[in-house]
């Protein structure tokens, strides 16, 4: 495998369960047992009610494209070989918004509102990114 040069997440003690789940090709987010909020990105406390003790839950991986952009110029030099590529915000079926890339179709096929499903990409032996493809 050629050396991966793009920015990689550095999992923290708080976010580690998310990245570990991604490595198993599972999408997990947090759930607040006190107020019922679905929480992404990983936090120590619920951002809605500030309660501690968020629980990790496996979610469907389904969502829709909330918005997207086709990068025709690299947004960082390390993405130069990927141009054109789609950066998107996906609204998960469970509610939270996540930053991602849309793969599995040409950039011009991506539309706001398009149904998508998680597509896990093992970019290094340690890290799997959560991308999405048309459902």
């Amino acid at each position: 495998m050629a050396q991966y040069k793009k920015p990689l997440p550095q999992p923290t003690p708080v976010s580690r369960p998310f990245w570990d789940a991604a490595k198993r090709h599972e999408l997990q987010i947090q759930h607040c047992n006190k107020c019922g909020a679905q929480v992404f990105y990983p936090r120590e406390m619920c951002p809605e009610c500030l309660a501690p003790g968020l629980a990790w839950v496996k979610v469907s991986g389904k969502g829709t494209v909330y918005s997207y952009t086709i990068a025709q110029a690299p947004t960082h030099h390390s993405f130069a070989e990927d141009v054109p590529y789609v950066i998107a915000i996906v609204e998960l079926a469970e509610g939270p918004h996540v930053t991602t890339n849309i793969t599995g179709c040409t950039p011009n096929e991506v539309k706001v509102g398009m149904p998508v499903i998680a597509a896990f990409e093992d970019v290094t032996p340690e890290i799997t990114l959560v991308k999405f493809r048309p459902a």
């Binding site: 976010s15 110029a73 947004t75 996540v98 930053t99 990114l129």
Partner: protein
Amino acid sequence: MSIKGKAAITGIAELRPQRDAEGRSPLGMMAQVAREAIADAGLEKKDIDGLLTGWAIGEYSVLWPSIIAEYLRLQPRYFNQVELGGASAAGMAWRAAAAIEAGMCSTVLCVVADTRGVTTPGRKLPPFPPIDAEFDAPYGLIAANPGYALIAQRHMAEFGTTPQQMAKVAVDQRKNACKNPTAMFGSKEITIDDVLNSRMIVDPLHLLEIVSPCSGGAAFIVTSADRAKRGPQRPVYLLGAGEAGGHCSITNAKSLTTSLVKPAAESAFKMAGVTPKDMHFVQPYDCYTITVIVTLEDAGFCKKGEGGRFVEEHDLSYKGDFPCNTHGGQLSFGQPGLAGGMSHVIEGVRQLMGHGGERQVKNATIGYVNGNGGIMSEQCSLVLGVQ
């Protein structure tokens, strides 16, 4: 109790934006604009007892306010860093007024300058915010361009806003820049086709819809309403201010199309006791064309979703029916770091002082200024006026 009319801006200074710093440092440029703004206000350095600043990419450091106080040999009674990205300068205006009204000081120097990129040997760019680095950067959502493209794309999908409408903002602001001798891009007018034929960077945003980072600096002086009357300039009073925040990454914004400008502008107009239709000009932060459209909607100049049609139907030039970013905006003036955000405050003051030169808006006595930081993350709206 409010700070309405309690303080005024009495002096301004602004460097001509330059592509490169040509050996100058942010601190050195700050010293220059400080000297010029103090002189413009008819004051001496010893009259300055308050200091507000932002940050500078070119010499990024903690303890920045003390570094500036030391460089300028000031002994402020009130000093701080306003860290609101492009909204920092607007944020300084009301903080200065509040500090003066609270008796903490009498006259505040608000000053920013920056170079394009790091110019001081051995310094580094400040790191990304940690959450952005972990959950945005791996997917290429890095810096401002793609974030605003996401906003534009969603605005187009929800409301039918067109590329032509967005381009119109850049075209009209360029007309203003052509009357501003200090604008970086003020030598030639552009057409909607020029904008749409410029290189696509992050679809749907073209090169001519995106600010150009550069080097420069600016400063303004805020003093009490009483002291302001003794200065050489027509005092420009702070009549209203409002601020709002709530996200850092655009992915975590509650909405891509209804921004935090809404609560910020509502607060500012309420404090001033005026409405958007009372404004003689607007100077809304413009890092991208879409920023202007969303800001005009959320500040109440038109209904949500009608911003595209609004800019299409109005002449945004200094002599038009809706003067907007009369210095050319950052799109044509340039974006010298946080001094880009200060350019909107400076131009608002310049117009109200009657120093607009060839681009003077006739009989302008009240106007709206908005500062925007990050990806619509920090908003500060001001209503400025003269008596």
